[in-house]
């Protein structure tokens, strides 16, 4: 009896393995290929199939988790990526090290769908708008559960409130964590002043016993599951969490915060530059941008796509499309140079190893 069961189980496993490998589809690549290196879960996979069908260009798609993981792979040039989607400060670093190619905008006629203000924002790292096409943007703020918090939340101070000890989720990444602490103290989040950074570090150490955990993507699931009362979160994730749990509310603290922007860029090492431009152009098409927005819920700078959003509440959402003029002290991350990075990393390690 036991033996037959075991054999059945092995047969089942084998069948599963075969069917899993059988899924790989063969597609013609009559017009060559394009190698895309994007954030994890950062576009609707269906759009890739549509792109392949319409253009005959085969997409090789690869994902990264952080800007910092992406950078060395591009720098070493071993992977020959054609399209990347880094954040503001990382684009600055890529440009500083001369790793990006100018985009030929004749091949990207859909670039006009992106609102002017976003190109304006991108000038912070790409002064002449020659290298980048904005893809997503957003803010960082506080997500809180209305049933667990009984006062209006409008300040980073709440993350240091002992009332919520064990119910606070902090971001587990050095720049985001220091952004919160620096902004709360009224400093720039790009500060390189040692005294300010030390003060921010000491505040983070003071906060550590109150936090439940340091998380990145998990803040989403934990807030949906009522695991914590307050969490630091990206605005795009906030919209998703509200779909799943109606007690959640998102706020940009009055001390200011990070307004970030991720853009498509083409590395210098790209071997399929025209295909890369075709891909970027495709991503700027309103219907495609809308599909991606629906899928990832990160704010799209594509004004034409925003017009197509049927749900008025989302189209005019303060979270997805905030009017940033009402906030003072909104900033975008800057690349701080390798010495600056080193100071931040050193101080962050001191926070993480504190008791």
């Amino acid at each position: 009896m036991k033996k037959t069961k075991l054999i059945a189980m092995i047969a089942l496993m084998a069948a599963l393995a075969v069917s899993a490998t059988g899924c790989g589809k063969e597609k013609g690549a009559e017009n060559g290929e394009v190698i895309v290196y994007n954030w994890g879960e950062y576009l609707d996979p269906a759009t890739l199939d549509m792109f392949e069908e319409e253009t005959g260009i085969k997409v090789i798609y690869d994902e990264y988790e952080t800007n910092e993981i992406m950078y060395p792979k591009v720098e070493s040039g071993t992977s020959n990526y054609d399209v990347l989607c880094p954040s503001d400060y990382m684009i600055e670093k890529l440009l500083e090290n001369d790793l990006l190619a100018e985009i030929n905008f004749d091949n990207v006629p859909n670039k006009g769908n992106i609102g002017d203000q976003y190109y304006e924002q991108a000038k912070a790292f790409d002064p002449e708008n020659k290298y980048t096409v904005p893809y997503c943007f957003g803010t960082v703020g506080i997500l809180y559960n209305k049933t667990m918090v009984d006062e209006p939340i409008d300040s980073w101070d709440v993350l240091w409130d002992e009332k919520y000890a064990g119910n606070i989720l902090m971001q587990d990444s050095v720049r985001d964590a220091f952004m919160v602490s620096l902004k709360r103290l009224g400093y720039s989040m790009n500060s390189l002043d040692t005294a300010q950074l030390e003060e921010a570090r000491d505040e983070l150490i003071k906060q550590k016993p109150l936090t439940q955990a340091y998380v990145v993507d998990q803040v989403r699931d934990k807030m949906i599951g009522d695991e914590a009362a307050i969490g630091v979160i990206y605005s795009g994730e906030a919209i998703y969490t509200q779909r799943e749990n109606e007690n959640l509310e998102y706020v940009i603290p009055k001390e200011g915060s990070n307004v970030w922007i991720d853009c498509w860029v083409i590395p210098k090492a790209s071997k399929n530059k025209e295909n890369a431009e075709a891909f970027i152009n495709f991503m700027c098409r309103p219907d495609i941008a809308l599909m991606n927005f629906d899928y990832i819920t990160y704010s799209t700078p594509n004004d034409a796509a925003r017009e197509l959003i049927e749900d008025e509440a989302i189209r005019n959402s303060e979270i997805a499309f905030p009017d940033l003029s009402q906030y003072e002290n909104m900033e975008t991350f800057k690349y701080l140079g390798s010495e600056g990075d080193e100071i931040y990393n050193e101080y962050w390690k001191q926070v993480k190893s504190a008791d």
Partner: protein, 272 residues
Amino acid sequence: MKSKRSLLAGPYLFWSVAFIIIPLVMVFYYGFIDENGAFTLENIAAIASPEHSKALWVSIRLSFVSTIICFVLAYPLAMILANMSVNQNQFIVLVFILPMWMNFLLRTLAWQTLLEKNGVINMILNFFSLPSLNIINTEAAIILGMVYNFLPFMVLPIYNSLARMDRDVINAAHDLGANWIQTFCRIIFPLSIPGVVSGVTMVFVPALTTFVISAILGGSKILLIGNVIEQEFTQASNWNLGSGLSIVLMIFIILSMIISAILDKDGEGALL
């Protein structure tokens, strides 16, 4: 004949050069240079900084505790298994190996879901009006994760050395008047030491180097040396420091392997 045999070893040779030797050489290369490519010992000496040595100490402490717990749980189990008839114990060994077919990350994430404040275990406890269990994001949760994940690596070698033991030796001890405790202390346990040593190494080493368990079950609040190294690569993009600290960690691993090699001279404790 001989040349044919060495031909068969070809794939393994290729494997170990490509995936063990070359990466090791690269770790040593990066570990001994600074960002400008000049030779330095700074990356190795960095272990002395308070954050790093504290992380290493916490790692050693937690993996030591986990190893002891694994041993205490595994030894009686291995004895029970070894005393069962072959048909029965194969089934139980299978039950032990079965979870290892599932992805390690998934199993650890499952523990997170179980232990969370509103997790499965607390829901059951609350249903019976029992006090909640709040160990998620503490050292206790990390130890639990280590014990859960690495217990089979302790059970199997001990079981192996117990099962291979000559029953005549034990019977002889009984015939000569030794009681159960004496037989265990003077015959069974000493003969099973190779298995114990192998099990201890196989639990201690992965526990010492883990960074996933502490990130998932410790809420990233407790920094182990594995987490420091991981962050040097993924967040700080300082491959040199990450490699240097890896070399220091390797020294500790080699030390524990040397100890096990001395105690397990005949290589009897090899897994299955």
